[in-house]
Amino acid sequence: MKMRKLLASTVLATSLALGAVTTASAWSLEEAAKPYAGTTVDVVFLLRPGYEAIEAMLPEFEAATGIKINIIKHPYENALGEQVRDFVAGGDLDIALIDLVWIGNFAENEWIEPMDKFTSNPDLADPDLDMDDFFPLVLNAFGGWNDVVYGLPFDNYSGLLFYNKCLLEEAGFDGPPATWEELKDTYGPALTKDGKYAYALQSKRNETQSADSFARVIWPFGGSFLDADFKSNLMSAESQAGLKFRQDLMQYMPDGIVAYDHAETVNAFSQGDVAMITEWSAFYSTVVSPDTSKVADCVAIAPEPSGPAGRKPALGGFSLAVASQADEDEQAAAYLFIQWATSKANAGEYLERGGVPARQSAYTDPALAETYKFIPALVESWQDGVPEFRPRFAEWPEITEIVQEWGTKIMLGEVTTEEGAQELGSRMEAVLDEAGYYSGEKPLAQ
């Protein structure tokens, strides 16, 4: 009896395994896309290297599937507004491009479909999809909301310390600063001279002020935007320490740093006027190309410095999700494109063409670190990030405007860090109160 049971189990297991193998080997992008050939998928792209990379690879996808990808390009600052208006009006977009701080907004408004709807469909899901291969922090932060995955990480960034090793060596340093305090107290005075500055922190009054400047200084010092009850935490000793640190650090930054966006900051570094910047990994190609950088040979990269609370580097990036307003065929075609663009198989080429994939497997080859100097720092940063580096709830678009205004006023010295944080905190709480977080209408998710 035992023998017959064992035999039966073995036969069953074998047939299941064979079945799985057959299904896996049978799946192909061409076959999966056949019913959707001729479908046009509309998607918003930004004017950034990661998007140009996938655009260059697109002919291969379109030839294999017959699906046409219609790209609508917008600068970052317009991308949210354009998409919100399209979704509210029931427009044409079939894919949502989601900055990590927009995910709560898009998910709560049901503008995007949970990924599970497609990954559970064997006709559409690539057996090699391997969701576990995405960096967990990145998948969770960029594509997840309330434990549901909506988007797959597509254009992925981490804040990194770009430093001019030639300038540092001249000043007697054999490596970058390990901590923010060291950057300010040791490297700052030594590198700020002869019209050159030790450091530049992009702080323009737009998302740059919120994400790159304000959030960057509060987290490593143990601060945060909100406490556990969703009240402002900006008056805490830790948040204040971070904000005061930024004020002190400004003496080692160029004048008018509140007008510096990414372009000005990367340019100042590339011209050799600034010894260190903390910028997104996406700017790697700009600072190491002799066409755009005078200091290409001197560029070295490290993870962002640590603060008393740890490294907590800036985290940013975009996922792609299927739009709910698309019809069934468009949704399927959109999913196939997203799956292809973020796949393990294409991660290598995407990297070569200037993109930054979120696939762990893409970074396993040690030789890659020689070619792309940012890889070790990037991989390290993605181990220790904070998903709510900027709260990802639906109210962020309103709150970021407040942060931008008062963050800049603090930097300009128009208000003290306490006055600014107090005002910012009350306005932030008013927005959250109106949204229903304090009445229990909404869960405290960020």
Binding site: V84, N105, D255, G256, A259
Partner: protein, 291 residues
């Protein structure tokens, strides 16, 4: 019956323009009015509800709104006199007899700043006023002003906006005033010049009355333009640094399209519209005189 136009003809000619005006101007205005009476956030459409005048109360008691309004009128108060002074000077020079070809060329070149798109002016400003590479600082460096932080300093950023506004709209003022000067009957002006050699007396007592209709038009148009000044500032400073160049239209755009609170933004826009209408009425009643 001769000379009487049929109703059909009247409606035939007027109808299309009235319909177009209703569709383009009146319908959006009515929709804005409806929106302003509701909680209407684009990202919270499930929560749309009638709130009466709550949005208006919020706007009227919001100090940030009034600060932006004050900033806008300060800009108007600084740039408009400059435009009027310079514009009048240019108009008087171009009104003088002689040098016909040069004056024609000057008139043509006056159109160029006005024809430049606002957003392009802002982008030009970003490059020209760049602290390190900008041509303005290069130009000022022999005079010791080569390192002025234009965009990152609150006062300088405001001055930069005044500069561009004056650059772009002084020619408009000049052309309107020049048109006004050409309406002064030649014999009156000639007689006045025989009576006195003082240009100021001629301007004050002979030319100015003919300039008044044009001046009122300039006042109304430039006030309305300043109140809705957006593109140039948005591309140049985005309202910053801090709030130093956040004028009223930038604030409304921020609330409506970056914060997505269309209800509040509509209330702000309606209040702005009311202020503009009141100002236009004041200008007409106080300054406008038929010659």
């Amino acid at each position: 019956m001769r000379g009487k136009v049929s109703r059909k003809t009247i409606f035939g000619f007027l109808g299309p323009s009235v319909i177009a005006l209703a569709l383009i101007g009146i319908a959006p205005l009515l929709y804005a009015l409806w929106t302003s009476l509701h909680f209407f956030n684009l990202t919270k459409l499930k929560k749309v509800k009638f709130v009466g005048f709550e949005n208006y109360t919020s706007v009227l008691t919001d100090e940030v709104f009034w600060q932006a309004m004050g900033r806008t009128f300060f800009l108007l108060g600084v740039s408009l006199p400059l435009q009027l002074g310079l514009g009048l000077g240019i108009a008087l020079i171009l009104h003088k007899p002689g040098l016909t070809l040069l004056k024609t060329l000057a008139r043509l070149s006056l159109v160029l700043p006005m024809a430049t798109t606002y957003a392009v002016v802002g982008l030009l400003g970003q490059v020209m006023f760049n602290q390190k590479f900008g041509v303005i600082n290069q130009f000022l460096s022999p005079f010791g002003g080569g390192n002025i932080n234009w965009i990152g300093d609150s006062t300088n950023a405001f001055a930069m906006i005044v500069f561009w506004d004056v650059w772009q709209w002084t020619p408009f003022v000049a052309l309107v005033l020049l048109a006004g000067l050409t309406t002064v009957p030649g014999e009156i002006e000639e007689a006045a010049r025989l009576e006195t050699k003082r240009w100021w007396t001629v301007l004050r007592y002979v030319q100015l009355p003919f300039l008044m209709p044009g001046l009122v038009a300039v006042l109304i148009l430039r006030t309305a333009d300043t109140l809705k000044l957006f593109d140039m500032v948005f591309t140049l400073t985005r309202g910053g640094p801090g709030s130093s160049t956040e004028f009223i239209s930038l604030m409304i755009q921020r609330v409506g399209f970056r914060g997505f609170d269309q209800g509040l933004a509509s209330a702000q826009a309606i209040i702005l519209l009311i202020i503009t209408i009141i100002l236009a009425q004041i200008y007409i009643r106080v300054f406008y005189r038929e010659v």
